[in-house]
Symmetry: D2
């Protein structure tokens, strides 16, 4: 196969597009961990593009499909009745080949060969990084729609999927609360979030947790134990402690064991895991996905530079991909205080 | 009973409070239509106050309980395990007596008699208006936490309960969609919202509706019918049309009949009604209620003037009650366009 | 087109099947009102058939597709990831042409022309009646899987979809209860069920209703009002009354108005409507659908006479279609008593 | 305190009851692991008793409260608005003192001292065993309402809480399925059930699982791996395997690791844990709880011997406590086959 080197093919397609004035064509993919609302974003991209006279090709399995040329046309009808579905109809993957410069060059070839003029990628931090490398090296136009249950994409206040993940975790916590109250016990609940504590913090406030352990703040066994003892003295029948997943907090099991050993109290651990990732997206996520997906298409039509399509204080903004680095978001300290002031 | 005129009692209570340095006391009530998250707001007020050394009295049945002196003390334990519950543990009502100046004067007496130094009211537009009249006439300090599924409280971007109402309606629409797709039919779904179309608009975008009829924009039978006919031609198997409740749109039945008669298509109508008002609050509503409730207590401690505790572009703000008038919020036009551009 | 009279085509297909020993072929359709679990039944039929070496054709839009020859092959993969979906991927309809003997004859021709040897129909009372007429007249083998949210199919204790409908209605009632308790009001809630009160009765017991009005028992205004007055005297803050849909009870509005006029109490009405029909099927419905669907295929393989595949006291039974007439199920009187004895 | 030995006190109370013809009195407790529907059973007992002129005392924290005399009166109003709540308002515990004969004698004294004439216990297998020892030794009348998410109480087809646990697990699996489909991966999901596979089996059928590992059937690594490989060959994009909790299966992690090592496929594990135990009870559980609770009170009034109030083929039955031993229920083999025949 000579696809990788066929500059001619690429040229030919572009020429065809210009000369014959055929409908311009964009491609779309979802990458990294799936997030609820990705389907709503796909639908929005396809229908906005369709309304503007653009063709859309769907790329299967994220960057893997891009590297191997796995495409399918997406019509307005093909995205009917998916707005309410979790996961992604295009599939996703972690793709080693795309992590190489050769892989990315090959992906650009595959796109140009099919006459695709711009790419929309939907995903999290890794997808943003991959998209940045791809567009920098190949100069292929890219727009990134942030979608990550962890809400940790730099450069945007909000990533599609976060609200659904939080509400899914909250639903689980409301169930656990029934048993916690019946049994008067300590429950440690581990939630997702990778390196950031956004899920943990919102879930802790909304779930009425006694305490929260997040990667952003070093946790302290003495302080946590003191807090729990005081709660007992104030007559609390049971306590929930929300813990961000392992890499940086140690995880719920380690913390529960330490507390349990110190206080001599029985503790239970629940690791919510993948149930936070799926489920029908909430209104918030469907609307954000619809808005950002539509904005991505408009950005292409308007000829904007490769950008992250973000939300800033409620408004849609285009942030050039190069400017996203170092824009890490941080937990709101007042929210952290809220957890302890409301669990008295 | 001389409570209404006992200036002495009032004085005595205030004196007691100052001299004996007893815990200062605030009162809290919920009024108007109930909204999910009211309980989370009550919990936040009680626990924030408790942490600051303030006593809290709960007023039963809203302004009615205020006028008739129906109070009960609320401890931190009394508000345990309510953050997840819809409705309001304090009850609410529509109260004729509070609509008179005499009734409001009597309410202030009842508060002062018990040594209450400030009142927090939780409710919608009517509650804000009632609170404004009350504090203007009696000079009794009031803080208002906006809670209304209609999201129509002037002076704040968000009112507690809206997100739960939208997601509840969305859940219903997802169910109806199953039948709509199986049967290939037209469904008109009437949602709440009183004079404003906020619920209808969000539900329409998130529910993938074909069209939306809101009070804010005059609807047009010709345009709606043309749109539905075009959809049929494009091969759509079924369509959902979201309609705001009656007063200003005519309601779903009237519109369905008109469309049905014009197009000769069978139409089904579902009026969602009260199922939008209840249910366990979403994360968004529990967090907003927790933040705004805590801010109301802080506002009292800081000696702020009577205010609406609102959200503006994601931040908590104190808006003096007198300045809320005329701050009606309006539907976002780009969102209205989104409904039609995404239903192609 | 001569399909209707082509005895030859039919013969030829059967001959081919016998001689060439090709895979035998069955067809499947869903008819009447859609019910949650229909997709689980389709999946079970297709996969059980596939495991036994049978081909399956799906018929689109119920009897309409049968009459007009609208078929599509269904593979095991085609029914992946549908077990959790409400509605029916095959579609359904109310079909006038199938109500005539000529229409039914034509349907049999269409089946025989494609070499189909047996038909599985999934639906309610009307589907059973239509299937009976069809097989009686054409001698085409049919198995009927009962699926009806009303649970009113004669000859079986259970119809697929009922449990989901009841739980969907219950979820709505739990939401309404929040407002009812907050406002201390009377709520009349109208549920589906056509001529039978099964949904109403289960929802009333599980929803903790004060009273239930079903078609099976004549309701009495005096008794209902007395009951509600006694409740008020006993200190009940609010009451829910569940009412079966109109044809035979008069509907919730009529009853609410009569009660309201008599007692001088404000009453609210909610008509649940189509939200009871959709939604992801419960475990009960997915399992019943899986069992009955598999049994239908086995019945064909074993050469049983045309039957309803029912549940009787927890066991799967084959009831010859001719014996289902007059097997109407009746409400359990002890359950009716339970509603009033538990709402004291 | 001489409570333990005061035969006189006991006599006196019984005499008072007979002579003064005061309302007879029963007590109720919930024990062991909590199950959704326990509150519905409490409500049913209290209201049925109240309708029959009996007083009800609630015992706090199960057998612990019985041993230590922790009682509170339960009126019809006290059980309002709890039918929809998970957990148990009475609390529960694991109680060492009740495991001794002395502890049980003391419990009987505590009951007789308060003039209680019969006890209703709500719980699972352990509660049944404890109740049997208690009534055998003390001759105190007991009725047992089976409530256990594991559905493993001997002598009854159904235990309150099972349906909610299965549907809760199913909801989690539906969420995981979204990711499984997006990522094309193997997921092992561990569910509760103690020594029995009832939850696992129902969840596997209803969740469309590829395979199920239950304690009742020895699992075989070769067979499981062959099955999964065949699935891959047939083009399945992802597979879910449901595993009963550890004691007898080894647990999901061990099985996932073994399969993963053998097949060289990545596998993910989710342990559902306590989220299966809570949540608002389904219609099935609220109705079973209501029926069995009412039957327990009737059994006392009718003077039946100490019994388990069970369900047998849909009917309520009274099984004398002594006859429950050895009535272990077994998994239905046809259901086990259904899992594999439907996952082709």
């Amino acid at each position: 196969m000579e696809v990788e080197t066929s500059g001619e093919a690429r040229e030919a397609a572009a020429r065809r597009s210009r000369q014959e004035n055929v409908a311009r064509r964009i491609a779309i993919l979802t990458a990294g961990g799936d997030a609820p609302g990705m389907n709503a974003a796909i639908r929005s991209v396809v229908r906005t593009a369709s309304g503007a006279g653009l063709d859309v090709l769907g790329v299967k399995r994220g960057f893997e499909g891009l590297a191997y040329g796995d495409f399918e046309p997406l019509s307005s009808r093909a995205v009917a009745n998916i707005i309410q579905r979790g996961g992604t109809i295009l599939g996703t993957s972690r793709c080693p080949i795309f992590r190489t410069e050769a892989g990315r060059a090959r992906a650009a070839e595959n796109l140009r060969y099919r006459g695709v003029e711009a790419l929309i990628t939907i995903g999290g931090e890794g997808t943003l990084a991959g998209s940045a490398a791809f567009t920098n090296e190949t100069h292929f136009p890219v727009m990134v729609v942030p979608a990550s249950i962890d809400n940790d994409v730099p450069g945007t206040d909000y990533s599609v999927g976060f609200d659904t993940a939080v509400n899914g975790a909250l639903d689980a916590i409301d169930r656990i609360r029934d048993t916690a109250f019946a049994f008067e016990r300590l429950f440690f609940i581990e939630v997702m979030g990778r390196d950031s504590g956004f899920i943990a913090l919102e879930v802790a406030i909304a779930g009425g947790a006694e305490a929260v352990v997040v990667p952003d703040v070093k946790w302290n066994l003495d302080a946590l134990c003191r807090r729990l003892e005081e709660s007992q003295l104030r007559g609390k029948r049971s306590s929930l402690i929300v813990v961000s997943e392992r890499p940086r907090t140690g995880g719920a099991f380690a913390i529960a064991n330490a507390v349990s050993a110190r206080l001599g109290m029985e503790a239970r651990v629940v690791v919510l895991g993948y149930i936070q990732r799926g489920g029908s997206p909430t209104s918030r996520d469907r609307i954000a996905a619809s808005r950002l997906g539509a904005a991505a298409v408009r950005g292409i039509i308007e000829g904007r530079p490769p950008s992250l399509i973000g939300e800033e204080r409620g408004e849609v903004v285009y942030l050039p991909i190069g400017e996203t680095a170092g824009k890490q978001r941080h937990l709101d300290e007042r929210s952290l205080e809220l957890v302890s002031s409301l669990s008295v």
